[in-house]
């Protein structure tokens, strides 16, 4: 029963870490609210606004096209129910913010487009009055979503173009961006399905992403523990290697299940998110998903030896998985073949299946997917046990 106490200990430590709790519980709820409200119109919602319209001062110094798209198509015209944007100079912006006539100011730098095209991080300066922290976060998120989808489109365009048609690569980026927004406005539902609102989409998308992040946090703590003497002390106690592995798995499973429950209850209560008609389906899929990511987490924890390596690789992999899995940019923006392909990732499979449930799917619709997720979890656990056993044999060789 040592594994049980190990799991409880891990839960206790995470439960006492206020920063981790804030990130794991409140952040997803907050982000779901922000994204749901901000992108409501793009997914064709007819929801009441939960965040009041606010004013944004835009200083566009960009010499390329993307700055203009962000300023005009997104901030000034794209979100009329949420944002009222005005173009001005930097000096005017400072004055407006000082007088609190504007809530948030945004400065698009001169190399904004170049950064997006070259695949570098495109930084935009956002300033706000003290009372507008939520609004500032919304703008930050809008910009982040924009730069990500713009970058994805640039890459997609570059990949689609033949390498030898250099002239074609100069196709205006504006066109690419507009195409992207058109796609985001589409509703990927069939005739007998109910449409999925932006709040529903981001509840599932962010929920899936944050569940992965919880596992990453747990795995990071597991690796950190392995680097400390406390791990050696565990190994020389009566706890076996397999109990250790199982204890870590149960701990991750427990923490992510609690988080999943909070996300479901929180989004239902605060934003009225409807997770679907099938309670059993949502529960089964949720458990299957946390089972798969916990299994993968334990596998990762047993493979990676140092926290430094993990922090460098783990977070990057999670971000990529979240991006291609649809947590950041709506799946509707991607072609169908890509959506099918990314189903090999547990987060993408889970998100697409949650959306299916939200669109009116039943328990029978999620059985196969849940089975696949459980299989990923069991498979990962089995591999982790083999890795541990092989390492032990190597140690005794």
């Amino acid at each position: 029963m040592g594994f049980w106490w190990l799991a409880l200990k891990d839960a206790l430590i995470i439960g006492r870490d206020r920063k981790a709790l804030l990130t794991l519980v409140f952040m997803p709820i907050l982000l779901i609210g922000i994204l749901g409200a901000a992108f409501g119109n793009m997914l064709g919602d007819e929801e009441p606004e939960s965040i009041k319209k606010f004013s944004v001062a835009v200083v566009n110094l960009d010499e390329g096209e993307f700055g203009g798209v962000l300023q005009k198509d997104v901030l000034m015209e794209g979100l009329p129910e949420l944002v009222s944007a005005q173009s001005m100079t930097e000096k005017e912006m400072e004055e407006q913010l000082k007088q609190q006539k504007m809530s948030v100011g945004i400065i698009i730098p001169s190399d904004f487009t170049n950064h997006i095209i070259s695949g570098d991080e495109a930084e935009v300066k956002i300033v706000s009055i003290p009372s507008a922290s939520i609004q500032s976060m919304i703008v930050e998120n809008i910009v982040s979503q924009f730069t990500q989808s713009a970058a994805v489109n640039v890459i997609g365009r570059q990949m689609a173009l033949p390498a030898n048609t250099g002239a074609d690569s100069d196709v205006p980026a504006v066109a690419v961006q507009e195409e992207s927004f058109k796609m985001m406005k589409e509703e990927a539902v069939s005739q007998d399905q109910q449409p999925v609102s932006s709040f529903q989409y981001y509840a599932a998308g962010m929920g899936v992403m944050f569940l992965m992040m919880t596992v990453i946090t747990g795995v990071s703590a597991m690796i950190e523990e392995k680097e400390q003497d406390v791990y050696n002390r565990l190994l020389v106690s009566q706890l076996t290697n397999y109990e250790y592995l199982f204890g870590k798995f149960i701990g991750l499973l427990f923490m992510s299940s609690v988080q999943f429950m909070i996300i479901i209850l929180g989004t239902s209560a605060l934003y009225g998110v409807h997770w679907g008609e099938s309670f059993a389906g949502v529960t089964l899929l949720g458990i299957a998903f946390v089972f798969s990511v916990s299994g993968l987490g334990v596998l990762l924890g047993s493979l990676v030896k140092t926290e430094k390596t993990f922090n460098a690789v783990g977070m990057l992999v999670t971000q990529i998985m979240a991006a291609v899995g649809g947590s950041m940019v709506p799946l509707y923006a991607f072609p169908d073949w890509l959506n099918e392909l990314v189903k090999i990732l547990p987060n993408a499979l889970a998100l697409q299946t949650f959306l299916e449930l939200m669109s009116g799917g039943r328990l029978s619709n999620v059985l196969a997917e849940s089975g696949a997720l459980f299989a990923i979890g069991f498979g990962s656990l089995a591999i982790a046990a083999m890795v541990l056993s092989r390492r032990r044999r190597a140690l005794h060789a």
Partner: protein, 313 residues
């Protein structure tokens, strides 16, 4: 048969041989000191005895149980106090003790009783509910020991448990170890503080470069240097040793002299008698003396005599 039997223990890490053919036996109820400078192989030996990793060759039996063949059974008889603090910092002292008790299979009332007893032994009843991260280094070390004795192990292995702590906590720890031993617990105590080992241990093994260079009781070890004191001289300029040895009045053999950097050590039975002649002789040999110290025979002298190095080198 002893509570611990170590036979021809060897550990190789690729080309490096960390422990070479080490053999020793510890009887039940004994307190055994393992002395040696940093890198001597003490911790590697302890880790193999704990079953943390297996030896390249050789055998370890704890209470007659083979550590390599049945590690969990053998480990159940051991209590390990690691060199570093192996505790969960965000948990209280009591929570840590309960957790480690669980890891050794203790449960229910027995566990609660043992936790209370151990808190008393380590003298932390009053702050048992405080988080370990708020403790001083000495208090953390006490909890570190507490976690190892919860299950009343037959053999308690302590790897340098007093490193970097205040004198008060150090005294408390030494007293605790002495008490546990007097109550029948067998102790292995590794340290490079010879005074701790001299205070606690009946038998001592001295390691250097992965090998046992000598072992025995304190009296037996002192006899290896013939009860000679050490005269330690420090100077700004090295003397010519040959000229010091040439002085017939000193009657010093070359093997009784150790010259290292700006320090000369001379082993002698009657340091008071030869001291003034020695100072004159060393000065005449070109040295400018800055300090002279006479050290009574102790384990440091034994180690220095056997290896030519100080324990804390």
């Amino acid at each position: 048969m002893g509570i611990l039997e170590v036979r021809n223990l060897t550990k190789r890490f690729k080309a490096f041989e960390a422990v070479k053919e080490v053999s020793f036996t510890i009887e039940k109820g004994e307190s055994y000191g393992l002395l040696g400078p940093n890198g001597a192989g003490k911790t590697t030996t302890i880790q193999m005895i704990s079953g943390l990793f297996p030896p390249t060759s050789g055998t370890i039996e704890v209470g007659g149980i083979d550590m390599v063949g049945k590690p969990k059974r053998a480990q159940g008889l051991l209590g390990i106090v690691p060199q570093e603090i192996a505790l969960y910092q965000s948990m209280s002292a009591r929570e840590n003790l309960i957790f480690w008790g669980k890891m050794y299979g203790l449960n229910g009332n027995h566990l609660q009783k043992r936790v209370n007893e151990v808190l008393g032994i380590i003298g932390l009843e009053d702050c048992a509910r405080e988080k370990v991260e708020t403790f001083s280094g000495g208090m953390k070390r006490r909890v570190n020991i507490g976690a190892a004795i919860l299950h009343n192990p037959d053999l308690l292995i302590m790897d340098e448990p007093t490193v970097g702590i205040d004198p008060q906590s150090r005294t408390h720890i030494l007293e605790t170890v002495k008490r546990l031993n007097s109550e029948g617990m067998t102790i292995i105590y590794t340290s490079h503080y010879m005074e701790e080992v001299e205070y606690l241990c009946e038998k001592i093994g001295i390691m250097d470069h992965g090998q046992f260079i000598t072992s025995g009781t304190i009296t037996e070890l002192r006899e290896t240097i013939g009860d000679r004191s050490r005269i330690v001289m420090k100077f700004t300029q090295k003397p010519e040793l040959e000229r010091v040895i040439e002085n017939p009045a000193l009657a010093i053999r070359k093997e009784d002299l150790l010259l290292k950097d700006s320090e000369l050590t001379i082993f002698h039975k009657d340091p008071q008698v030869v001291l003034s002649e020695l100072i004159q002789s060393v000065t005449a040999a070109g040295a400018e003396i800055t300090s002279v110290e006479i050290v009574e025979p102790n384990l440091e002298s034994v180690f220095l005599h056997l290896t030519g190095r100080s324990l804390r080198d």
